[in-house]
Symmetry: C2
Subunit: 275 residues, 2 copies
Amino acid sequence: MTDHNDKRLPIGVFDSGVGGLTVLKAIREALPGENLIYLGDTARLPYGTKSPASIARYATQATAKLQQQGIKMLVVACNTASAVALQALREQMRPIPVLGVIEPGALAAVAACPGGAHLVLATEATVRLGAYSRAIAARDPAAQTREQACEMLVSLAEEGWTSGTIADAIVERYLNEAVQGSFTATSIILGCTHFPLLHESIAAIAGRDVQVVDSAQTTAVAVAGLLQDSAALNDSRQAGNLRLLATDGVTRFARVGGQFLGETLTAEDVELVDL
Amino acid sequence: MTDHNDKRLPIGVFDSGVGGLTVLKAIREALPGENLIYLGDTARLPYGTKSPASIARYATQATAKLQQQGIKMLVVACNTASAVALQALREQMRPIPVLGVIEPGALAAVAACPGGAHLVLATEATVRLGAYSRAIAARDPAAQTREQACEMLVSLAEEGWTSGTIADAIVERYLNEAVQGSFTATSIILGCTHFPLLHESIAAIAGRDVQVVDSAQTTAVAVAGLLQDSAALNDSRQAGNLRLLATDGVTRFARVGGQFLGETLTAEDVELVDL
């Protein structure tokens, strides 16, 4: 039986595809000594356009797979799965801690702009679920939140077109759609794990008065805090291991995922698994 | 037991999502008297980034579902599934005829530009499989074919951004990527069922010397020919019925699918089915 208090156990990170690798990257940078295991459910991506019932079923299966491997913490690095299924995954994993990406992002935005106007850029499913609006309102009743679906930003990131005139034009169109009416954003939350790749374009077009909250970074901070609190931090004098699992298309996972992780991957770096 | 020679039986049309509705629309326009049943496997879309083994399994399940409903012909309105699984689906459906979208498109391009240089715009999976190149070479050994993956055109169509500066800039970038080197296209094949929505932009940027082959239209022509040949054409004095089935997200299917079909749909128009 696995002892989930074993510090050497990896942190499990789960996403529908490669997007969560931006979260993994941020965790690695913050906690270089940790062993990490990542599962991308590429056979069933994207979750963003699926129904809540399907998303919850997929997330439960992916979580079970990581649980089998033995992990000391689960990070749900998928905004859609965090919005739909976080509570169910916490029940499933108890007593192992489970962290989503929405709470850290909402907390950071509220801390940066108290009483502010928060614009959440996300997938259709995340927007429809309104989880960011609820998380922000629970912490700061004076805050305003608007959520904007930006599916094209997902494809831009996957295509690797993360800068230049096309990226800028698409970002600008979404920001213009979002600020119609009397809403002027004081913060922009990158509410999809693909969007940190477009951070620069979004920040440049939003202008310097707008705080951009990167939920990959804020999640990494929350992971570090939680591990420290439970005395589960691994020794960081030695670099941690990384295992990458995917449910389909390891070649594509390596090619696109490498951009997200910021290093070159080959298909041999990725293990194909069934859920 | 269903008599598959019954003219009133519907034509089954299958795609991974809403894209095949461009093919359905073309069939409806060509053959207004036919009853039609469409299945979009929205729970598992997109097929374009999945592995061949997964695509073949999904296509077999979707075909079995339409077979249960009773159909007189199956149209595989998905380029990826046509490229991977057409032969297997023909075995599965025998003696009911099965038509893919690749053969009609390849035939039309070869007929329009004998000995020509054909540029196929498609998804990653279709390009990787090289089915258009093989189909064209088999009919016209003097022809040249180049296949270009254009994933962003899929998202443009789904977002409804089918004209304007962003659509034009993205189309132009892909066309520029494709014609590097000494390749000058005489025809462009719309090798993904989403791309007929971008027909105008693609034709305008390609210029008037380039023939644009719309595989939705060419498939409809092939369907009409096959029905006529087997004396299975329904009476067209009365408008045919249309049933729409989807495996997930009927609200989104109705909203996005309506753009593809060219009419307003509501969630009530779409039946949710399990495969």
